[in-house]
Amino acid sequence: MVGIENFSLNEISLIIFNIIGYSFLFFLPKRLSREVKCLSVLAGLATGMLFDFTIGGGILDFYKQNDTNRYELFDVFYYALFGVFGYFFMYFYDKFRVNKVTFIYYITAWSIVGILVQWLFTKLHILTYQNNYELAYSFPIFLLIQTLTGFFYMFITNSSSELTKES
């Protein structure tokens, strides 16, 4: 484990992204219940960490976060951004009243957003691909994980509407 290897563009970018992201999270008009909001952030963090610790490390080690392959302080800032994306995913899911048909467009759009953000992260040296990994390989991962997150959102919000009816 290392603290900060080299404070440069990637670290500064992560600080800015986190400030912007979490400002939106706190100041956007309230749409989601406190429970869904909490779970959206946790789901984002968990799915992000799942893939980064699985394909971004271990024997696969397809990409490097920040300056080293080791766990460093700014990796935590990088993971924290997944929480913001998890929140935005569920926020706009609710705002756009996504249904079975628009679900297809919604997931496709978010997967493209994911690819664009990851491309930006490589340009800012937050992510560096290695072991022959390419940006395009991330698309099916985004597609899968966002579809599952969509199902998870339906699962938790259905239960909350049932609860409202019961109460």
């Binding site: 484990m1 219940s33 406190r34 429970e35 909490c38 779970l39 946790l42 789901a43 963090l45 968990a46 960490m49 799942l50 610790f53 699985t54 490390g57 271990g58 024997i59 080791r70 766990y71 998870f152 699962f155 938790i156 239960s159 909350s160 609860l163 109460s167």
Partner: protein, 157 residues
């Protein structure tokens, strides 16, 4: 191949048992618990194995997959099952015994991984693992308490 079959079965069993069991906590609480335990455990396993090299995992693809399945599915799910198997208002002692039994089950699974050389311990032993699993259950109760106090406060569940 044998260990892969065993661990996939245990993971499948964990998912099935959790799906079928009568859950004490709400969907929200269980989801928060699952994510928090998962986030904590995945970070711990990375630090212990990849940074400190206290526990070494096999680099053979199949055995590494076993390690990933164990880390991703089995540990968080078994903690969830352990916590959901005791009533909310049970006596402290009952909860304590349930934690000890649940942690023991996790240790048995760890013994399977050790016997098939999926994991190798350096400056680590099963007793430390047992203490860690007990801690993970206790952490689960803290997460539930925190969730109830800060998130679901005022929300009917």
């Amino acid at each position: 191949m044998m260990v892969f079959a065993i661990i996939v079965y245990i993971a499948w069993l964990g998912i099935s048992v959790f799906y079928a069991m009568k859950k004490i906590y709400s969907k929200f609480e269980n989801s928060a618990l699952l994510f928090c335990v998962f986030i904590f455990d995945i970070n711990r396993s990375w630090i212990i194995s990849d940074e400190l090299k206290i526990i070494e995992y096999s680099t053979s693809p199949l055995e590494y997959t076993v390690y990933i399945i164990h880390r991703t599915f089995i540990t968080p799910l078994l903690i969830l099952i352990g916590l959901n198997s005791v009533q909310r208002n049970s006596h402290f002692l009952t909860k304590g015994i349930a934690i000890l039994i649940s942690s023991f089950v996790l240790i048995l699974i760890k013994m399977v991984l050790l016997s098939f050389d999926v994991l190798t311990f350096h400056q680590w032993n099963l007793f430390y693992d047992y203490l860690y699993y007990v801690f993970l259950h206790v952490l689960g109760y803290f997460i539930l308490y925190g969730y109830k106090s800060f998130v679901s406060k005022g929300v009917k569940s």
